[in-house]
């Protein structure tokens, strides 16, 4: 800290200026959008994830065969879950971009945002209709109506914000091409709804076209991104755009706000962790009559029968918690999230949302030991995909590290190694467990539980190992005082490349 101010002074100055800004806001009737965005993130992440509940609530009684009709019902519900997750994430990304343009809100914008949220909450219902009645066009028609309504509300928000320019973000407010950027943003916001309007018309006489258009709407951002990327490769690599304020305001595809990616992910992890406890509280409290008759009034014996459930709960909570921990460590080093990282994060979260299913599968061991092997493998697969996509986020960030990472971690070394170890732990463990079940299929349950219990300890050991390695390195350095220059060289390079004010 070579600047003239001590950290405390800076803190005070910040506090004062933020106080002043708040006072100004109140006089102008505007508000910081921070809390509203947090609320929207929480709402959207819960809507995206909560549709896993119908999947886990699909009743398969022990007598019943795992027959065609159950399979179809389960497949239907998993499809609804995945489609909901995908479309809500797309809506969330659009919402993020919109409020990168709109910097402040007032009461009207807050109410419009609530209307937008309410329309988004209806999307899962239209999916349920679509999947339950695939040959009736009403579901897709209602879906299109919802998307059009969302588009209209978002266009209203854009129009309102550009009508009162003090609500816009500083980059756009001070830009000379404000009218141009307004047209550009309206184009982005209304692109999907216009396609959906077409789909709604088609749904009235030839609805397969509507489904095609719907898929286009969902993948539109990625399609446009992929085509521009391919074009770049074919024509030749352009220089990356310099990050002036002007370019940023137009380059709305890149990058996502890190805070909102974190808030959305936190919401998903939090709801997944609590769905688990809900299942425990609803299903695993023994019935007083059964306790009296089957267990001769001994509550402890009755609870003992639920042992595997509790084991599964601890294992699943630890898995969710540690995946959150890995995500948290990962995003500490990230400065901005590119669109590719956003997509990988969505995929990772979609599998994290599937963890209650893994819990339910492993908790069912006690009741249905016969198809144990498939259940263990399914659980391993869910954990593997959830963690491997996290690993992929880190890889994607490293590929463009000048843009995406914090300056202090751009230079490899210990932090990189530690991060790789943290992120590789769950993919390796679940892959190992999967392989072990192939060899020792009789002990599959034991293998899975050992994995779930061993990984948290591995996380703790990881720290010890890294510290041991560091200590031994330090010891080695003291033994060889002849070459201190070479070992300090990377740190010097780092300090030269950092901004001079640091």
């Amino acid at each position: 800290m070579s600047g003239p101010q001590t950290p405390e002074q800076t803190l005070d100055a910040q506090g004062d200026s933020s106080l002043c800004r708040k006072d100004e806001d109140i006089r102008e009737g505007t508000q910081s959008s921070h809390r509203m965005l947090g609320f929207s993130d929480a709402l959207l992440s819960i809507i995206a994830t909560v549709m896993i509940l119908p999947v886990t609530h699909t009743e398969i009684s022990p007598e019943q065969q795992f027959d065609k009709s159950i399979q179809r019902l389960l497949a239907t519900r998993i499809a609804v879950y995945l489609m909901t997750f995908l479309i809500v994430t797309v809506a969330w990304a659009a919402h993020t971009r919109l409020f990168q343009v709109v910097g402040k809100i007032d009461d009207t914008l807050a109410l419009l945002n609530l209307a937008c949220m309410m329309t988004i909450t209806l999307l899962p219902y239209t999916f349920s209709l679509m999947v339950t009645f695939p040959d009736v066009p009403l579901g897709i028609f209602l879906f299109c109506v919802c998307v059009i309504a969302i588009g209209v509300v978002q266009a209203l928000i854009v129009g309102y914000a550009f009508h009162f320019p003090h609500l816009l973000s500083p980059q756009i407010r001070c830009s000379a091409h404000r009218a141009l950027s307004r047209r550009h943003i309206l184009h982005l916001v209304l692109r999907g709804p216009v396609l959906c309007f077409l789909a709604a018309i088609f749904s009235l006489f030839f609805f397969p076209v509507s489904y095609l258009l719907m898929v286009t709407v969902i993948f539109l951002p990625y399609i446009s991104k992929a085509t521009s990327w391919c074009k770049d490769r074919l024509v030749g690599h352009r220089d990356p755009p310099t990050h002036s304020a002007e370019v940023f305001s137009f380059d709305l595809h890149e990058p996502l706000s890190k805070e909102r990616v974190e808030a959305f992910s936190d919401g998903v992890y939090a709801i997944v962790a609590t769905l688990l406890i809900l299942d425990i509280c609803e299903d695993n409290v023994p019935d007083p009559k059964a306790v009296k008759e089957q267990f001769r009034g001994s509550l402890v014996a009755a609870l003992g029968a639920y042992g595997p459930h509790f084991l599964a709960y601890f294992g699943s909570f630890a898995t969710v918690g540690l995946l959150w921990f890995a995500h948290h460590s990962l995003f500490l080093h990230v400065r901005k999230a590119t669109q590719a990282m956003g997509l990988l994060n969505t995929l990772s979260l979609a599998f994290v949302g599937g963890l209650p299913l893994a819990y339910q599968q492993t908790a069912a061991f006690a009741r249905q030991p016969r198809d144990e092997l498939e259940r263990v493998r399914l659980s391993c697969a869910i954990v593997f995909f959830a963690s491997i996509f996290q690993f992929a986020i880190w890889t994607a960030a490293l590929l463009r590290q000048a843009e995406t990472l914090q300056p202090a971690v751009r230079f490899g070394g210990q932090e990189h190694a530690f991060m790789f170890a943290k992120l590789a732990l769950y993919p390796c463990a679940s892959l190992l467990a999967f392989a072990a079940t192939c060899l020792l299929s009789r002990f599959s349950t034991a293998i899975f539980h050992v994995m779930q219990i061993a990984v948290p300890f591995a996380f703790l050991l990881l720290r010890l190992l890294v510290r041991l390695a560091l200590a031994s390195l330090h010891g080695l350095r003291h033994l060889r005082p002849a070459q201190p220059l070479r070992s300090q060289a990377p740190e010097e390079a780092q300090s030269q490349l950092l901004p001079s004010s640091c």
Copy 2:
């Protein structure tokens, strides 16, 4: 803004210094605790609220009488919900205080915090056991074990943070009495667990004492607060403590961090809004067979039968959304939350968490029109209590406005009037609806729906009315140019009382 820096410069300086701080953090291995606290808030708010689901899932088939056994089951589940909400809020408040002392985290603290969260998620289960088997001491024993485990983990966190003082918040790190404050905080953290240890011992031979001790643990902060308040009144009013850093670090009862109160409340509102859509998606998708047989294949007709459900959904979502909006407006003006405001907020949120019950009651109109009146009244009561406690928060804030409110709103006038109108809208509307059902009991459903649809428009009208009043005031001022001094006097007083740097 009379300071030498323009807002943009301040912003840049903040950005740079926060970048520097992040780099320092990474080198030291510490992290800002901001995201971990947000995740904990989301987790705790969802755990607190999610126990309303067993209440709403209590099946009352139309044939069945609303008899004793159902009543008992419902009362049991509502008791579990309220107890869970209360104890989780107490745990959340303790967590908030703990991380006011611990300013930064590292990996070990993040893992310890996850362990703490996992133990807290088990509390609802122990309540379910307690309420289902009131005469078996196992439930209370397990509850005590959980609280002791939480206390041990929190004591570990305190010990770890004081062992590595760079993790402490600046006030305590720079304090001369660090050892003293450590003892004080450990005392606060371990007070509850010690009582629970006693309760666990008593539960083995005479468990009614355990219940008494448990209630003491839950209400401990409020009891100690109330006794000190009574003492103050009896002995004579002390001067309020000056807010030096030294006093703040010791006065851990006051005040709550505003950001965390907001994050916790947002979590509750978000999960309540999404529980509603979950019910819609699980219960209101018609069965393909039923559509074929009862509605001759017409999906539109089948959906028409669910009309009241959708109306109830829109009404409930609007209610949750607008209550959040009122809460948001309220906390925009709040600078710090006192303990009384925290308690009122908890009570308000507990009733907000009951809104899915109100939705379920009003959605059941179609099936069971006979006890409509009770259902409408129950819903009105839930909305009334949720909103009247919000109103009480504002009143409590006004009573100590020098400490709790932003400087710009301390002087009455338009903002105060607007705030009062916003917060009084729902209490008045629900009270009116309740009174109307007494007079016109035949139209109770219609009255309730009219209320739910009218209030959002009232919110919009409120703005128009205030603006009209302002415009007419402005017009009056121009008509009477002779006395401009008096009308500007309050603004001058305000600018004199504001900090000079503004």
